[in-house]
């Protein structure tokens, strides 16, 4: 009998899925849209059954300061995607930024997007954790009592990395 090498179909390796189990979102910016990006992503992760940690640093601290959370603005100057037809000089007029931010918040409310302060309450109730950066807090002379109650602690960069512990964690920087 002729020796014919039987060619078997190459074994198809099944791709193992490794879903993300935890996200650590670092927010270093204090503009309305950047803070919302962090909040929406953290909340979205929690809704999917993942863990979510938020770490605010530098201007991001503005989002977690008592009395400041709901006062965030979107930049109308130096933001070419914002009303492209409006000249920069006009966008810099007093009150323009406040008006634009107000309009943006109104549109968000229509979509049932909560105000920043309420978003933090939702995230905390959902099991998410919020932290402030120690270095930035020191720099801006802020203490624990200057922050909203949802802020669990003021931590170092090392502590922040410890929060990301685990093989299926993603770190997102905003």
């Amino acid at each position: 009998m002729e020796n014919v090498a039987v060619r078997t179909a190459p074994e198809v390796k099944k791709k193992e899925k490794h879903p993300v189990e935890k996200v650590l979102i670092i927010c270093a910016r204090g503009t309305l849209e950047d803070v919302y990006a962090a909040l929406v992503m953290a909340n979205g992760a929690l809704m999917e059954g993942m863990e979510a940690k938020l770490f605010f640093t530098f201007f991001g601290l503005e989002a977690i300061r008592k009395g400041h959370s709901d006062q965030l603005h979107t930049a109308t100057v130096g933001n070419p995607a914002f009303m492209p037809k409006v000249p920069t000089m006009l966008a810099g007029l007093p009150g323009f930024e406040a008006l634009a931010s107000h309009m943006m918040k109104r549109e968000m409310d229509k979509l049932d997007i909560p105000p920043v302060s309420e978003f933090f309450e939702i995230i905390e109730a959902s099991g998410g954790e919020v932290y402030a950066c120690k270095l930035a807090a020191d720099m801006f002379h802020l203490e624990k009592e200057d922050f909203i109650p949802e802020v669990k602690d003021i931590i170092t960069v090392g502590d922040m990395y410890a929060l990301a512990e685990g093989p299926s964690t993603q770190i997102v920087f905003i």
């Binding site: 059954g49 997007i113 309420e118 109730a125």
Partner: protein, 103 residues
Amino acid sequence: MSEVLIAGKAVQVNEEGYLTDMEQWDEAVACEIAEELNIVLGPKHMEVIHYLRQQCQTGKTLNIRRIGKSGVVDIKSFYKLFPGGPLKNASKIAGIPKPASCI
């Protein structure tokens, strides 16, 4: 879409296991879907599920914020009742479509 037998009843589900016709749902179906998700349904679960179905029937989009403000359940308890993605899991058990909401 395929037909599967849940709690002795033939129901239509999509590829993710969500019922495609909420009228094919009953509490026995809910219990069996919940079991697959390792959730044992109690009276509070049922209250939330019936609320979700009622909201869905009126064509309202469901999101965590609205559920928290419903007076039926607060957000913390909602996460405890349906661990591992509360809105997703509760919708699946309630026999309504997977919520297409980012918040």
